[in-house]
């Protein structure tokens, strides 16, 4: 693919050594643009948020069921907003004038965080805003996104593009609820996982053996599963409502840890699906970067020819990685039914698979990075839900757009740059 891109010019050694002292023209432009973005955020805080609020914002820090109740955080709105606007103005100003260079991406991210904080203070002015319930919801909502991203990472690290994550989620959600209703939640969880694995098998057969365009297969998996589950819902589940009524996994508090204020309810009083997500993020990170299997998988994703010449079976490695990825995707689907409402509705995953894809890219094909991205996306989801509840006059649609816009910015390399595995999406033909 390299020939279609305009390759970045390789700088001679002296130039790259000099760069640490004086900035290149491109860096200066970038510093100016990001500086202006931050100054604009400061201006929004001053012009839009400040004039029409007063009083205090109350942030609840505890869930009602907790044994240790923290006092709510009371913030005087006007001074707090002035302070945050000043921080934004300072960051933007210094970025505009001299630039933070290597730290610029981090600073920009921090500035967005400060801006969101200002938005929350403004939204909560004169109201009760339970921060803790929003943080708990963030971790729950991040779960299917992080697992979906993990599914994509497993496939793509071996060189198989998976845009069928959405279909795998939906398939897992469907069989999960049916088997869960008939035979109990654990069987449902198993069925969801196997469904994802089966869909991944289709991806593997067509991608590895038949060498069909992987983007087409992923796309087909999405519409096939959407069509099939919608058809089966209207033909079968509507007539047999008892097949669409699964038990929901309850939150399991972990002794002692769940009593810690703030992080207790967030991380230690969730369902087993959420715990499984934490375990899987850790396991996949370890497996990919610390085991022989992981080394082989990554080498097949980066340079299948070299791996092949060293005796690694490219198709076997790809089959395994894709099927593992599919199983994680199917398991993630169970969150939508067995982890929340216990029933299936047509298309209930609502594009979360694509947010997972976005988290994978934003996290630069790394499980920990993808988990971080999923937390941010989960936060924006629960924040927009909270804003809708508080009747804040901010169109929540724009918060919903954030994951997609951020992904475009990242793939375009406007801020930072995420690089996919080198052989991602290329079928391998043994010579």
């Amino acid at each position: 693919m390299s020939e279609t891109y305009d390759q970045p010019k390789v700088e001679p050694y002296e130039a790259s050594a000099k760069r640490t002292k004086s900035l290149t023209k491109g860096q200066i432009t970038r510093a100016r643009v990001t500086g202006i973005v931050m100054l604009a955020m400061a201006a929004i805080v001053v012009v839009v948020f400040l004039p029409n609020v007063e009083g205090e914002a109350t942030f609840g820090l505890s869930m009602p069921y907790e044994s240790i109740q923290l006092d709510p955080l009371v913030v005087p709105v006007q001074p707090a907003l002035w302070f945050l606007a000043l921080v934004l103005g300072f960051l933007g100003g210094s970025q505009f004038v001299r630039g933070f260079q290597r730290k610029a991406t981090l600073i920009l991210g921090g500035a967005f965080g400060v801006f969101v904080l200002a938005m929350m203070v403004w939204a909560a002015a004169g109201q009760e805003f339970n921060l803790e319930s929003m943080l708990v919801a963030t971790v729950a909502r991040c779960t299917p996104i992080a697992l979906g991203a993990l599914s994509g990472i497993l496939c793509e690290r071996s060189g198989v593009v998976n845009i069928g994550i959405e279909g795998m989620l939906l398939g897992g959600a469907f069989t999960g609820v049916v088997m869960g209703s008939l035979l109990g939640g654990w069987v449902g969880l198993l069925a969801a996982t196997l469904t994802g694995g089966l869909l991944a098998l289709l991806l593997a057969v067509l991608a590895v053996n038949f060498r069909v365009d992987q983007i087409i297969i992923g796309f087909v998996i999405n519409i096939l599963v959407l069509g099939l589950t919608s058809f089966l819902t209207s033909q079968v589940l509507v007539k047999n409502p008892e097949w669409n009524d699964a038990p929901i996994f309850p939150a399991v508090p972990i002794p002692v840890l769940s009593n810690i204020p703030i992080i207790g309810p967030m991380f230690f009083n969730q369902t087993i699906i959420v715990y499984a997500m934490f375990v899987l993020v850790g396991t996949v990170t370890y497996a990919l970067f610390r085991t022989r299997w992981g080394l082989r998988t990554r080498s097949v994703g980066e340079n299948p020819k070299a791996a092949d010449s060293l005796g690694v079976s490219v198709s076997k490695v790809r089959y395994l990685a894709v099927i593992y990825g599919g199983m994680v995707g199917g398991f993630a689907g169970a969150w939508f039914t067995l982890g929340t409402v216990g029933r299936f509705d047509e298309g209930l995953t609502g594009g979360r698979g694509f947010i997972g894809l976005a988290a994978m890219i934003f996290g630069a094909w790394n499980p920990i990075g993808a988990f971080g991205a999923a937390l941010i996306f989960g936060f924006s989801e629960s924040l927009s839900e909270k804003f809708a509840l508080l009747d804040v006059p901010i169109p929540t649609e724009f918060l919903g757009m954030a994951p997609y816009l951020v992904t475009i910015v990242v793939v375009a390399g406007l801020v930072g740059r995420a690089r996919p595995p080198a052989a991602d999406g290329q079928p391998y033909e043994k010579e």
């Binding site: 693919m1 390299s2 020939e3 279609t4 891109y5 305009d6 060189g159 593009v161 845009i163 067509l206 038949f210 060498r211 069909v212 365009d213 992987q214 983007i215 087409i216 297969i217 796309f219 087909v220 519409i223 096939l224 959407l226 069509g227 099939l228 919608s230 058809f231 089966l232 209207s234 033909q235 079968v236 994703g301 047509e346 594009g351 694509f354 894809l357 976005a358 890219i361 169109p395 649609e397 724009f398 919903g400 757009m401 997609y404 816009l405 992904t407 475009i408 793939v411 375009a412 390399g413 406007l414 690089r419 996919p420 595995p421 080198a422 052989a423 991602d424 999406g425 290329q426 079928p427």
Partner: protein, 390 residues
């Protein structure tokens, strides 16, 4: 095999790299086996599997036959059915062309949904906000607005691909979701929202911006309109552009071998931006036709998956503009028949999406069809994009 410019002066040899089979696929479009036999067998096999699915969900053999008869009757069984088929096929021709022309330049446009939405929203805005114009001014103005809106939405992935190398599949997927949210937002603004309504629905377009219906003098329910002729004209235009102009030759050359095209002095940057703008404009025209010819207003989800169906149409047609028209008629017929089947045979319309998905699998992997029917075919598996590995 190589491709040659209309004046015969430049010849581009195909890339032997991972994208090579894409070029082979293009040159085989005239081969009757891979062009007709395989697609027909793919459709047939998908219908057979559809029948099995119907019977597995508890219908008897006769009920299954009844469902398929309803499918046939609802698509071509009467003048009214044919009108529905043509109405359904009209946007599919346009979104199919949108995907096909991008395929020819080696780009995968998954963003038809977003381009269609933005195009439709631009058309509806011009359609309801301007008053007092005669139809022969207002209608072309609204159509132009729709095409422009779609082209602008297509410009973004084309520009980013050309300038930064951002993979068009990722950018177009993300832009679809941005467009969904944007439409949800716009339909609740005072500019778009109908007076006195709380739900997201736009004002109705003026009569002067409506696309005239063709057969309403026979039966007021027949919605087939001049949008059909626009779509057919667009197919002719895309064929002419691709095979009779230098610009089209550049598209195909970049699709076959970008580095050879660049070496021959073509601007790959220009091709990527231009082809995505044309693709976006075609999808925008599809949305415009839905608004001005069928719906008269915009509401969330008026894209109705048409942008995605366009991918299936383009694949079945092997990116040939004439094939796109035929494939769109087939899919339009399936959609029309599916509605009739749902109403009269108690088999849900979602079966049609399953059948369409199966058709794509079999078309994209002709080896499956060859294996089932023992047809010899030299068609290779469809390989268009090259993944996002660098």
């Amino acid at each position: 095999m190589s491709i040659t410019s209309p004046d015969g002066k430049i010849t581009i040899e195909p890339d032997d790299g991972p994208g090579a089979s894409f070029f082979r696929r293009l040159t085989q479009a005239t081969d009757w086996k891979s062009g007709f036999v395989i697609p027909l067998l793919a459709v047939f096999t998908a219908l057979v599997i559809g029948a099995i699915i119907i019977m597995l969900t508890g219908s008897s053999f006769t009920e299954m036959i009844d469902a398929y008869l309803a499918l046939l009757k609802g698509s071509v069984g009467s003048l009214r059915a044919i009108s529905v088929t043509l109405t359904e096929a009209t946007p599919l021709i346009l979104t199919g062309l949108s995907v096909a022309i991008a395929f020819r330049a080696g780009l995968f446009n998954i963003g038809g949904e977003g381009q269609l939405l933005i195009g439709g929203m631009s058309a509806v805005l011009v359609g309801f906000s301007i008053t007092g114009l005669p139809w022969f001014v207002h209608l072309p103005l609204a159509i132009a607005a729709g095409i422009t809106g779609g082209a602008l939405w297509g410009f973004i992935p084309g520009f980013l691909k050309a300038k930064t190398g951002a993979h068009e599949v990722i950018v177009t997927i993300m832009l679809n979701y941005v467009a969904y949210r944007l439409v949800d937002f716009l339909l609740k603004t005072t500019l778009f929202q109908r007076e006195g309504r709380n739900d997201p629905i736009s004002k109705n377009i003026m009569d002067s911006a409506q696309m005239p219906a063709l057969l309403q003098w026979l039966d007021p329910a027949m919605k087939v309109n001049i949008g059909l002729f626009l779509a057919l004209a667009a197919a002719g235009f895309v064929w002419w552009l691709l095979f009779r102009t230098n610009t089209g030759f550049e598209f195909r050359a970049v699709g076959a071998n970008p580095s050879a095209a660049r070496y021959a002095g073509m601007s790959v940057t220009k091709v990527y931006i231009l082809v995505m703008m044309i693709a976006g404009g075609l999808a925008g025209l599809a949305g415009t036709g839905q608004i001005l010819g069928v719906l008269d207003r915009a509401s969330p989800g008026f894209n109705a998956g048409l942008g995605f169906d366009g991918i299936a149409v383009a694949l079945l047609a092997r990116s040939n503009p004439i094939g796109v028209v035929l494939a769109a008629l087939l899919f339009g017929g399936l959609n029309a028949g599916g509605q009739y089947m749902q109403a009269n045979a108690d088999v849900g319309i979602d079966l049609i999406s399953v059948i369409q998905a199966l058709i794509i699998i079999f078309v994209a992997a002709p080896a499956l069809i060859s294996a089932i029917y023992r047809v010899k075919s030299n068609a290779s598996a469809t390989q268009i994009s090259q993944g996002w590995g660098s």
